[in-house]
Amino acid sequence: MKKYNNYRLFYVVKLLTYVKEFIWEMVLYLICGGIYRIIPIVSAALTAYMIGHVGSGGTIEAGFIILIAVIAALRGIFSYLDCMISHDIAYRILSKFRVLLFEAIERLSPSNLSTKRTGKLISTTMNDVELLEWFYAHVVGVFLLSIIIPIGTIAFLWNIHPFIAVAVIPWVCIVIFIPQIFKKKADIQGNEVRDKHSDIKAVSVDGIQGLKDIIAFNWKDSYINKFKVTASEYEDANIRYSKRKGTEVFFIRIFIAMSMLSVLVTSAALFSNGLITIEWYMVAVILSGAIFAPISEIMSMSSQFGLIFSSAKRVDDILKEKSYVNEENAKSYNIILEPVVQFENVTFRYPGQDKNALNNVSFTVKAGEKIAIIGSSGAGKTTCGKLLMKFWQPDEGRISIGGVDLQDIDGESVRRQISTVSQDVYLLRRSIKDNIKLGHNYSDQEIFTAANKASIHELISSLPDGYDTKVGERGTKLSGGEKQRISIARALLKDASILILDESSSNLDSINEKIVNESLITLMEDKTTIVIAHNLSTIKLCDRILVLENGSVAEEGTLKELMNSSKSFKQIINKVS
């Protein structure tokens, strides 16, 4: 718990390191924000003085009223500047954080994300980051001002009469101290609130994406109940948080009011004894309230601190999370490696499992060779591909491309060598063309040719918007086979020397498959290819076959060899009636 004491301080420092580049804007902000906050105090003191003056029988001039009107106008102007400058800084920092988070998630995907919920990650990137806006737009400035202004005002009160200052100081100290008492509870509760809030997003996303199943299985009421629990848990956390906040508010209000009261009484005594004049008496009473304006501003924000700092923590946790795939010694390679793939005694286990997904797997794919990996469902075929793409890394053994250990190449460079059709085709929520290009600069002609080879050009051209047709969410506006063919097209377009096809024709009919296979035959000629499949028509394109069984290589050979000798091979291959 020792570490805990510095929790907030740690994040304040951490968060402030992000504003280094905005230092001059910060200074400007402090000046404007300072003036904005001093104006009401000055104007209150001024009017109080005048009231006292008049109360004791003096007179004032009309110019004074004009002065007050001018101050009122200044107040408007500086409230504008205060807000604009602080928000400009804050929103710039927010977008910086959002990009940092995106990069972190890119770095962590997919190995660290398989147990995380996208909804929660988005909640952090959108909502938690947004709470940091409070920190930058309001807290930082107000925090400094809440030190400067009270000190200035207390000095001023001291000038009126030291006793008055003495009457205020203890209260100020107590008020500042109050949030310290509740700090720990506030942080724990804040964390709970933020976490439950992100659940709402996650459960909504899950519910909407699984809408078809929920409706089809008439699971609506249960799901609503599930959602209700999530939503109420969040609100309960909120209520608990606010209850504690209420207690803080209770004490803060009492002590602020007590401070005013003690000034009222002290100065009354001073006045009765002729130590101060009525004008200054009035000023003292009004100022004793005004001191607390910035303090109570920071206090009302401090009731948010529990939330702000737990958001900061959630952001920071993602930013500093270590990726499962170690890239420490990895270098970026710009050259094209020789397309020789080698697995040497690779053993791998997914985190949290107690069975190895791959057991001592060794095989070599020579340059230009085509190999098929087959095996029953769950045997570890896809896992091989993902290890080769450096989405995961082996626990033991070595994987290399062109003789270079993957440990020494960074993931980005590894993936530049490889083109892939993955088993779970993912299309982004944009046009067909953008999905085929995926950010690269291919000419239209290249795209058409690739689509043609993937037997999808004809269909796309027949659509009213052609290649600009939006595919909808995750490609749901297309049929299963169409999605698959688009992903084949984009793999064909990527000029890489190694090709991984993971069940790339599982949703294709024979007619389309035949067309695609013909394209593949020409394409594969000069590429090293790893094909994962269950159907003969695809397997027969390969030179060699590897049979995986429970994560180990069970058999290896040509199609003919296996057809004649192996029983398990025949079982795995899709039966033909």
Partner: protein, 576 residues
């Protein structure tokens, strides 16, 4: 002032607590005013100089009492604020979720998940303060101001007028601004939800993005979108803060300026000087809620702009409401599904034309056709996820829209081409088929789907988490869990869309055997490309060009139908 009836309708059911909150707020206002008045009276007596010890203590006593009362109310208010917010938000969220179910999947297929889930979380969150903070604050401030202004008028008309102008300024300026800001407020939210939806898409597709080394482009998109939020917010603030400046100015006129005027008039002798203390303190106490109203008005405005989107979502067409029957018309036994002249397409593109089909009980029917011929669409039609352009679909002889949805759903179970796993345990995912099933039943279903052994090999067995969308499972495992879900439901109609595309021959044979056992007395429909799957069906429907091209058994079609041969050919070659 920002009140309209459409927004109020979103908090239906919470009017009472809102009224209570307003009362609390007003009570706090009164206590504050009382507190400041006490101070004013106290000062006056001190100035008069002949105050007695006793009186001083009385004053201090009363003030302390008011302080404590105020603090206590503040504490309760803080709690009640959250409580009220919780009522409103939870109600609204549930209402919206129900609405989502009524809208159905097509609306979301075109890419609205990100937007709608943002509404569920952030928009609703932003709306609550409108009711729990802005509205009560507004009402109590208006009430308080009426009292204040009345008193000021009583003292001096000029001061009353100045103060009134200040207050009216604060209350009415927003009305002029709202027109200017409405567009920008909506734009703010649009940009926000745009980024949020974008993130959903790219986070879920990150593996693909990385595979194709596309992250730097996507990163640039994220930068652009978040800078757009920055730009939009600043533009919005540039306008709204001018307003805020005016509001501040207006409030300052109503307070400081009115006080200064009081002092001036008193020094002229126009006002009796003993009143000036009261005016000074009364105005200070009454204007501090007005200043904070200026702050809450921005909260309120954010809520109002959010409400536009919430209201819009509530108006989206409810495509799932095709089942009109209010009373359950029982179906004794499902004998057949009949499609009569069914035509359907998406947008303007026609996919199925005049389809006439009958699926009988006790029969496994396979549907084959090239990719994109409309097989999955046919299933969506039977499931009622889309409505035919023309034609009708019957269960026995009853059009499905004459059944109640509940009854209809209870008769059908389905495995989608792209099986979906919910975040949770394997057990939960299978139980969707039948939430009341016992453990044994679940295991039996899992055994039939040939996934039991795998599940048992996991450290936590049936209680293992599958990750979002089943990320910790292999393709074939997801399919088999989805099958288990379907088997568990044990409904009279079973629809399977490519249930074995990721299964190897061995697993598929097991599943087929199980299916054969289970399918007794049921209508089973299978869409597949694989001859192994198709050949075991009793009857096969071949789709072509949106029409039923032919129908028959495997051997019949092989002998007579060229298209069918083509569809199966590649696979057949090797049987020889």
């Amino acid at each position: 002032m920002l009140i309209n009836f459409k927004i109020l309708s979103l908090a239906i059911g919470s009017y009472k607590p809102i009224a209570k909150k307003t009362a609390i707020q007003f009570f706090i206002w009164c206590i504050n005013a009382g507190h400041y008045l006490c101070i004013a009276f106290f000062l006056r007596e001190i100035l008069n100089g002949k105050i007695k010890q006793n009186t001083i203590f009385t004053y201090i006593g009363v003030i302390i009492f008011l302080i404590i009362l105020n603090a206590l109310l503040g504490k309760y208010d803080s709690y009640f604020d959250a409580k009220l917010g919780s009522l409103i938000k939870t109600d609204l969220r549930i209402k919206l979720f129900k609405k989502i179910f009524d809208i159905g999947p097509s609306y979301f297929n075109s890419g609205n998940t990100g937007h709608v889930s943002t509404i569920m979380s952030s928009y609703v969150e932003a709306l609550a303060p409108y009711f729990s903070t802005y509205l009560p604050h507004l009402i109590s401030t208006v009430l308080g101001s009426v009292i204040l202004v009345t008193y000021l008028f009583y003292v001096n008309t000029l001061i009353g007028i100045v103060s009134l102008i200040g207050i009216l300024g604060v209350l009415s300026l927003p009305n002029f601004w709202i027109k200017l800001m409405k567009e920008r407020g909506n734009e703010d939210w649009k940009k926000y939800s745009d980024l949020s939806a974008h993130l959903l898409d790219v986070f879920q597709g990150m593996e693909t993005i990385k595979s194709f080394n596309a992250s730097s482009n996507i990163r640039q998109e994220v930068i652009n979108k978040s800078l757009a939020i920055h730009k939009n917010t600043m533009e919005h603030l540039a306008v709204s803060q001018i307003e805020s400046g005016f509001l501040q100015f207006s409030a300052a006129i109503g307070s400081s300026f009115a006080v200064a005027l009081t002092a001036f008039l008193a020094s002229n002798g126009t006002i009796e000087s003993h009143r000036i203390f009261i005016i000074l303190f009364l105005i200070s106490s009454c204007f501090s809620p007005i200043f904070s109203l200026i702050n809450t008005w921005h909260l309120g405005f954010r809520g109002v702009s959010a409400s536009n989107f919430i209201l819009k979502l509530l108006k989206v067409k409810e495509e799932m409401k095709i089942f009109t029957a209010s009373k359950t018309k029982a179906i004794e036994k499902v004998q057949k599904i009949k499609m009569e002249n069914v035509s359907f397409g998406y947008e303007s593109k026609c996919v199925l034309k005049d389809v006439n089909l009958i699926f009988d009980r006790n029969k496994i029917t396979a549907i084959v056709g090239k990719s994109g011929e409309g097989k999955s669409t046919l299933i969506n039609l039977i499931m009622g996820f889309v409505t035919p352009w023309t034609g009708k679909i019957f269960i026995n002889d009853c059009p499905i829209e004459n059944l109640s949805e509940e009854l209809y759903r209870s008769k059908i179970s389905v495995v989608w081409q792209d099986p979906y796993m919910f975040y949770g345990t394997i057990m939960e995912n299978i139980l969707i088929g039948n939430p009341n099933a016992s453990k044994e039943e679940v295991e039996r279903a899992a055994k039939n789907a040939k996934i039991h052994d795998y599940i048992m090999s996991l450290p936590n067995g049936y209680n293992s988490f599958v990750g979002e969308r089943g990320m910790t499972l292999s393709g074939g495992q997801k399919q088999r869990i989805s099958l288990a879900r379907c088997f568990l439901k044990d409904s009279p109609i079973i629809i399977l869309d490519e249930p074995s595309s990721a299964l190897d021959g061995k697993n598929e044979s097991y599943v087929q055997d199980a299916l054969k056992k289970i399918s007794k007395d049921k209508i089973v429909l299978i869409v597949s490309h694989k001859s192994q799957t198709v050949s075991f069906a009793d009857s096969i429907v071949v789709l072509k060009g949106g029409k039923v091209h032919s129908q028959g058994t495997h051997s019949e079609l092989l002998n007579t139908n060229l298209l069918y041969c083509d569809l199966m050919k590649n696979q057949e070659e090797h049987s020889a």
